[in-house]
Amino acid sequence: MGVSTLKDVTAIAGIGQTPFAKQLPESEKALACRAILAALDDAGIKPAEVDAFASYTMENTDEVEVAKAIGAGDVTFFAKTGYGGGGSCGTIAHLSAAIATGQATVGVAWRSRKRGSGPRPWTNTAVQLPTPAQWTRPYGLLRPADEIGMLTRRYMHEYGATRDHLFNVALACRNRANQNPAAMMYERPMTRESYMSSRWISEPLCLFDNCLETDGALACVVVSAERARDLRQKPVYVHSAAQGLPAQHHGMVNYWNDDPLSGPSWTAARHLWKSADFGPDDVDVAQIYDAFTPLIPLSLEGYGFCGRGEGAAFTEGGALETGGRLPINTSGGGLSEAYVHGFNLINEGVRQLRGTSTAQVPNAATCLVTAGEGVPTSALLLRS
């Protein structure tokens, strides 16, 4: 067997999205179709050429529905990645692997969600899984914010992180959203006072440490690098891709191993960098999954931008802002653009490397995109 690699073999050739809002009138299926058709149009590829689909769980619109609605051809690859927001980058990884190995030629990944107007998943008590819910939910640890809040309090205790560090994250995302007309928080600036005086959700996490609730959909088109060079958009190459499920990991309630604070990002990162031609110091801009502000310092450590316990301090001095050491979430992220399970981070990574972001990092040539930390995760290194 020859040595094979995904490095720069495929590229994201098209991106599409719907508006983001607290409430959109159309169904998730209609929003999915709009985003996918927009992405195909962006790439200049006909829907009949699509022969691969990748999505992630908690997506209610499946391949059969999407394929027949958009007019896809014969589909020869379809895959679904688990763990909600942990699967976002996994969709691109799976499409890349399928295209690199000749199983398909034109892949579509998408996310459609009506979380703004629909119910919060944690309010459904009927579908709670016995493992691990039996150990946590009866005692009132009900929501993702409670589960991550537990890790956050410990992180603050161990490493001297403060609410100001979490504010640094929330502010960077908000500032970028204020530059992005598509962002839900476009016209809503944040101050330290408004952050500090917002209501608690699960102490130590306040309202602005939590992502938005959004209706909206996004999609990407993945093709071979060779094909991408002949299309209308500047290719954005998938340089490296990884998934991460650490040994003895337990998902959002990662409380039952030696080191709950080193989560899936550490595992994904080891594989991601091993397959890459560059390292963390060479990343021009990053789109880091931000369902909650503390996921940023934890991910900064996991992906090697700083040492263990240094993630909070890393956020100081405007490091995450435009012109800082590592500009992040340049469309506003899940905290301030839209929370569509992290897919907006992928599209923004593509815009940065095309040079079309509303908060463009000058000459950005490399971008890290991550999926949910705190659950089995995935990540991409993109380059222009």
Binding site: T123, Q134, R137, M150, R153, E203
Partner: protein, 150 residues
């Protein structure tokens, strides 16, 4: 078994976890341990086989009931209605003295009789706690935790 929206959630055990709740109902804190000779590792959550030696033999080992608070949160609404009625309330994560890598989610209770979560002491990271198997005034499931030095 599911609970109506206006009631506290009761544990919905799986096959592996059921013995924990049966022992808890009898006032015992027991953890699943490997029963293979030369291994004996504790594991949590309970599962069919041992991740250290792959043995399917297990036993339920009695714990001292002592531990330390590793972390905690204070939950505020929006919450399920029955929990919103108790809010704000603290949820603690207790690392067991015998196995610090096992951290049980729970609630603190006061030392006197009839103290609800509302009058429970404030958690502190590192504080020593002991398992308490009295019925919780708010109807939360066993076990609860009591501060050794409130």
């Amino acid at each position: 078994m599911t609970s109506p929206q206006n009631e506290l959630l009761q544990p919905v055990p799986d096959d592996d976890g059921a013995p924990f709740w049966e022992y808890a109902a009898r006032g015992e804190l027991r953890m699943q341990a490997c029963a293979a000779e030369g291994c004996g590792e504790l594991r949590f959550p309970p599962r069919p086989c041992c991740p250290h030696c792959q043995s399917f033999d297990s036993e339920w080992r009695l714990m001292s009931g002592r531990g330390r608070i590793w972390s905690y949160v204070t939950a505020h609404p929006p919450l399920l209605p029955a929990y919103a009625a108790l809010a704000p309330y603290d949820v603690v994560l207790v690392e067991l003295a015998e196995a610090p890598q096992i951290r049980l989610v729970g609630n603190l209770v006061g030392n006197g009789n009839g103290n609800g979560n509302g009058s429970a002491p404030k958690p502190r990271i590192g504080a020593a706690v002991t398992a308490d198997f009295r019925e919780h005034p708010d109807g939360l499931p066993l076990p609860h935790w009591r501060l050794e030095r409130p």
